[in-house]
């Protein structure tokens, strides 16, 4: 169990910078999820913490000790690979006990540790098998088992579930969550999967282009995304964006002149928003609203044409064009299935996000 501090860590492969100064403090026992588009440097960061990649500059500390120059074996961390990386010439039991055998642990201790881990993961009947005689899900469990037999300071996961089918992924996700509640080990988890990130994380770290965009609890990232990137990345289907200008006027929405701020869209419609203090009147801004927050109503202020109706079973996704731009609505209302060629929509003020010209959140 340990805290992990990452301080202005940079990484370049030759002349190509990959990470541009990452700062992150991970508390003891915390579950951190790294998300971001492909190639943004998530794996690189994880592998630097593991000691598999050199740190170009900056400092990584585990339990307060600088580990930049420590070999992976001396960092006392465990890692679960996307490919599982099970040793094919060893049985499941030997795979799980390899780290303990390398540490010359006593035989009885190994047996009890492997036994306990196997029971926890339901691997008892498989201990004598070779990895090639296991299903994907079972291999995944063995990889988890290999990580938990010795109690390491931290667990690193690089997309551990991405090779499993949806149902199994759901099941393993719950197991990982239970395991974490059980072991309370500091964990860093890389994933592409929104739901994994939202459900597992104590805090999510959203990365883009080698830069950390926002760190916060899942709901913080969902409710108050720090910039356009996070707003568009978190949530599925993704947030809708509309370009416009911030206006302060008496028009407002007619409900109260004191709140007379709005976003003027290209067609002249003014969408009322709460007054923002950190943008100037007439500045170019981007308005964001999540598909599930858009309200369909006959008296809505904007009209959109319906391009496509996608029932997902749980709800319905409507693909619209608004001023010629793609726009999505997610609704649980089955009536939307028979939506006409045109619908009118409203944007509840409390669900609107405004981003300034640079793409940063404006409050």
């Amino acid at each position: 169990m340990a805290s992990i501090d990452i301080e202005s860590v940079r990484k370049s492969y030759g002349p190509f910078p990959v990470l541009h100064g990452v700062d992150l403090t991970i508390k003891d026992g915390e579950f951190i999820v790294l998300v971001g588009p492909s190639g943004c440097g998530k794996s690189t960061l994880l592998r630097m913490i593991a000691g598999l990649e050199e740190v170009t500059s900056g400092e990584i500390r585990i339990s307060g000790n600088r580990v930049n120059d420590l070999a992976p074996k001396d960092r006392d961390i465990a890692m679960v690979f996307q490919s599982y990386a099970l040793y094919p010439h060893m049985s499941v039991a030997d795979n799980m006990s390899y780290s303990l055998r390398l540490r010359k642990t006593a035989k009885e201790k190994i047996a009890s540790a492997v036994g306990a881990a196997a029971t926890k993961l339901g691997l008892d009947p498989l201990l004598e098998r070779r990895p090639k005689a296991l299903s994907g899900g079972q291999r995944q469990r063995v990889a988890m088992g290999r990580a938990i037999v010795r109690q390491p300071k931290a667990f690193l996961f690089d997309e551990p579930l991405s090779n499993l089918d949806a149902r199994l992924r759901e099941q393993m996700r719950a197991e990982i969550k239970k395991l974490h509640a059980d072991l309370k080990a500091t964990s860093i988890y890389v994933t592409h999967d929104q739901i994994e990130a939202m459900t597992l994380a104590d805090r999510i770290v959203a990365m883009h282009g080698g830069i950390v965009q926002q760190v916060g609890s899942p709901l913080e990232l969902y409710d108050t995304p720090a910039n356009l990137f996070v707003a568009g990345f978190i949530g599925s289907p993704g947030m809708n964006f509309l370009e416009g200008r911030y206006v302060v006027s008496a028009e407002g929405d007619g409900k109260g002149a004191s709140e007379g701020a709005g976003i003027r869209l290209s067609d002249g419609t003014v969408v009322p928003v709460a007054r923002r203090t950190d943008i100037q009147p007439d500045a170019a801004v981007t308005l964001g609203i999540r598909p599930e927050h858009v309200v369909i109503s006959d008296t809505g202020m904007l009209e959109a044409s319906v391009d496509l109706v996608e029932p997902t079973g749980f709800g319905i996704i409507l693909h619209l064009s608004l001023h010629g731009l793609p726009f999505k609505i997610f609704t649980l209302d089955r009536d939307a299935l028979s939506a006409g060629p045109k619908v009118r929509v409203d944007f509840p003020r409390k669900y609107l996000h405004v981003f300034d010209e640079k793409g940063d959140r404006a409050d």
Binding site: G51, K73, A78, S83, Y84, A85, L86, L102, K132, N163
Partner: protein
């Protein structure tokens, strides 16, 4: 099966059969001549099998010629070369496969260049180098020369086997607490057994049948290897085909045994199940 498919399968099998016959026919001829009595060798015309067979050639080669010495020498030289080369090539192949270092490009280029020269060009310089060291006329000298010639190719061979083993495996081992060398020895090497077997087999046969350097560096029967020994059956006026072929058949035995020994590693796909299947 549809008739078209049947025909195709038949043609396929037929083609393989033709190839196998073509490849094995010289070996069959070797065997045939080795059991043909001398008086029938030229008198019967071209026949697939002599009317009378004899083992007198084998008897002579084993009991009355220096062949057992040649045989032993060849075994020592080929075995030692195979082991030395395989050890060196697994280390260097691993380095080329896994590490990136400054001179890598030049080392690879240099190794390729060594493969470009006809060996005949090198006979004189090598003789000049070995003779002051007392390594001519010695099996050690041959082992050194053969190893030097085989290491580059064997390195590339081993490198390709290491390339086929996912890097994740040794990274997992290193995180589990192994040093890179321990990971190499305990995780990677066992998975490379097919590659090691292939390299051993390749180098062994190459050394076993090498004639040029054996002929140039060795004089006299004591340190001669078997390909050199075969030439003793050629005299000024005649070639003793029967005895030569008998020696040849005997020389095939160790190579066959060797491949029988390693074939189970050659065909085994040990990496199955390492990563997601």
């Amino acid at each position: 099966m549809r008739p078209g498919k049947l025909l195709l399968t038949g043609a396929h099998r037929g083609a393989i059969l033709v190839y196998v016959v073509f490849a094995l026919f010289p070996l069959f001829w070797l065997l045939k001549v080795s059991v043909t009595p001398n008086d029938l060798l030229y008198s019967e015309g071209v026949r697939m099998w002599p009317s009378r067979t004899t083992f007198e050639h084998f008897d002579f080669v084993i009991a009355h010629s220096a062949f057992p010495t040649f045989f032993k020498n060849s075994l020592i030289v080929s075995g030692a070369t195979a082991i030395v080369v395989t050890i060196l090539a697994s280390l260097s192949g691993y380095a080329l496969s896994r590490f990136s270092f400054k001179a890598k490009y030049w080392i690879v280029a240099l190794m390729l260049i060594t493969q470009m020269f006809p060996l005949v060009m090198l006979v004189a310089p090598i003789f000049r180098m070995l003779s002051p060291l007392g390594l001519t006329n010695s099996l050690t000298g041959l082992v050194i020369v053969y190893s030097a010639f085989n290491v580059p190719f064997a390195t590339f061979l081993m490198q390709s086997f290491f390339d086929g083993i996912p890097k994740d495996l040794e990274e997992a081992a290193m995180i589990d607490g192994a040093t890179q060398f321990v990971a190499f020895r305990q995780i990677i090497l066992p998975l490379t057994l097919p590659g090691i077997a292939a390299t051993l087999g390749f180098v062994f046969t190459a050394a076993w049948s090498e004639l040029l350097f054996a002929l140039m560096l060795i004089s006299g029967n004591d340190a001669a290897t078997f390909p050199v020994g075969l030439l003793t059956f050629v005299s000024k006026f005649s070639v003793d085909f029967g005895q030569m072929m008998a020696a040849g058949v005997l020389a095939l035995i160790p190579a066959c045994l060797f491949f029988l020994l390693i074939q189970r590693y050659l065909v085994q796909g040990l990496t199955a199940g390492a990563v997601k299947g």
